[in-house]
Amino acid sequence: MAAGLAGAPLLDGPLPVVLGLAGVAALGSLAAALAGWWADGVGVALVLLVAEYGGSLVARGPGLDPSAPLVAAGLLLAAELAYWSADVRAARAGGAEDRAVTGRRARRVAVVTLSAAAGASFLLAAAALPRNGGEALRVAGVTAAAAAATVVLALLRRVR
């Protein structure tokens, strides 16, 4: 899945070498994380994959990318599967896993993937709507993004 995400931007045409390198680095960090050598490898791989995707969008020029929901779903699917693998390793790998545990986790992965696709589609549809707000709407968007980040950080602090 991660290889597909890393390779997909290259299908649309030649891209700057640095983007290709970002994809390769993402696959490398994911492999290191799965092998148990680097615990933070999954997170770094996700950021690199998104950076590669963002770079490809900029290189491609204006116009919305209709495949963004697929990318969002693929990204979270790859992340969830990688964390599943890491969890099994953390549980002193190889121990018997209840069917209920496997089933519950599989359902969770499916729900997360589908929700990501649905959420991305919704945002993309919203972005495609004609905008007449000008700078005010842009400021509102930035404020909303900053508020979302603040809420997440506040929740993180509360749970810690």
Partner: protein, 425 residues
């Protein structure tokens, strides 16, 4: 029990991804970036808002607390959670000497909130000893996959693993017996079954002892003299100054097994058996008879260990009752420490009936590679031979017992050499 709560690694990753993605979308003016990363941010926000962690309870019990080597014990781990969790990963850590029947001793289970669940792990006791079982770690991932609670059960349940007895058919016959009735034919004369000699009738002799034919031939009453059946005091002397070994096998392991086997066979012969563990730590059990004493000895053996100590140890540290003057002392020693050699010489000097079984350290100490190593090893072996000769010259038979060799023929050799020494005397 100790427990701690942490965030699942995905939380930090998703939060970073979401924040960076949304910021990047604003910076480059590409809503697709926000569309791709915002779901991760929403997932984290929703999870953090609803998942506040859970309490995990872990209780460990064993189905048996006393087993024999090779037996299996069932370790029951009772898990309980106060809130719904996605999964609980449980791992049982075992000390060396205990091994899981099915590897690895871990499992991942789903547990509904408020309904405890019990997991069973089969554990095989592969070596004698006293163990603490119950080091269990549980890792519960919250229902929304955001928090991970680590719990650790620290309370250890003691498990006693007794050595499996080597079956011995015969024990070393003591030179001296006690006055109490037992199974050994005493050298003294008295009431018994075994014929000893014929002698003229003396006042106090029973009439049934009169030998009719000899009396008729001699023209005066002669009686049968017999050996009475008596028991003896046996002290098993365990040298714990030093040992040679690899992993769990070694001279101490062999010596403890031998002590257990000798205790069993002597108790069965109605002897009074005691143990003296002599080394950095000096401990003893005075001789007593009966199966309870055997159990006591086995129990005491489990805590036997080499305690490095450089002080001189003298026999006067041992209570007099633990070393009766008429006792047969069977010493099990690797003859590695000069102090143990001195103590054995002191035992002989006290006039005790001493037999030494040398638990050979040679198989556990291979020569260092190279010609010099071979030479050093040869010299060491020669020194050991000289040491054995020193004992033999004092009338103490020393028989070497090598790893993998059964104990029975070694004891037969001890018995034969004692008989030869007695004949020579």
């Amino acid at each position: 029990m100790t427990s701690s709560r942490r965030l699942h690694p995905r939380v930090r990753a998703y939060a970073c991804l979401g924040i960076l993605g949304v910021a990047g979308a604003v910076a480059v003016g590409r809503p697709e970036l926000a569309a791709v990363t915002a779901p991760a941010l929403l997932l984290v926000a929703a999870g953090l808002a609803r998942d506040t962690g859970c309490g995990v309870g872990v209780e460990v019990t064993l189905d048996r607390l006393r087993v024999v080597e090779g037996d299996e014990v069932t370790v029951r781990v009772r898990l309980s959670v106060d809130r719904a969790v996605e999964r609980v990963d449980v791992a049982l850590a075992l000390p060396a000497g205990l091994e899981p029947v099915a590897r690895p001793a871990s499992a991942s289970v789903a547990i509904p909130a408020g309904v405890p669940r019990t997991l069973e792990f089969g554990v095989r006791a592969s070596r004698w000893g006293g163990y603490g079982v119950g080091a269990v770690t549980a890792r519960a991932t919250g229902a929304h996959g955001v928090t991970v609670t680590h719990a650790r059960a620290d309370g250890l349940t003691p498990l006693r693993v007794f050595p499996r007895d080597a079956r011995l058919r015969s024990a070393i016959p003591p030179a001296r017996t006690r006055a109490a009735v037992g199974s050994r034919v005493s050298r003294r004369s008295g009431d018994g079954i075994e014929h000893a000699d014929l002698r003229p009738l003396q006042p106090g002799d029973h009439l049934r002892s009169v030998h009719a034919r000899v009396s008729a031939r001699r023209g005066a009453p002669w009686v049968n003299d017999r050996h009475p059946e008596r028991n003896a005091d046996v002290v098993l002397f365990l040298d714990t100054f030093a040992e040679a070994g690899r992993d769990l096998a070694g001279t101490l392991d062999l010596a403890v097994r031998a002590v257990a086997a000798l205790a069993t066979v002597h108790v069965a012969a109605r002897d009074r058996v005691g143990v003296v563990s002599f080394g950095g730590l000096v401990r003893w059990l005075p001789p007593r008879a009966g199966p309870v004493q055997r159990a006591r000895i086995l129990d005491a053996l489990l805590d036997t260990a080499i305690l490095l100590h450089f002080a001189t140890r003298r026999l006067d540290r041992v209570a007099a009752a633990a070393l009766p003057s008429t006792a047969l002392v069977v010493a099990l020693t690797p003859l590695l420490d000069e102090r143990s050699v001195e103590v054995l010489s002191e035992l002989r000097g006290r006039g005790l009936d001493l037999a030494v079984v040398e638990v050979s350290p040679v198989p556990f100490a291979p020569p260092a590679p190279g010609e010099l190593g071979e030479l050093a090893h040869r010299l060491w072996r020669l020194e050991r031979t000289a040491l054995r000769r020193r004992f033999s010259s004092r009338g103490v038979p020393v028989v070497a017992w090598h790893d993998g060799q059964p104990l029975e023929p070694v004891l037969a050799e001890v018995i034969a050499s004692r008989r030869a020494a007695r004949t020579a005397r």
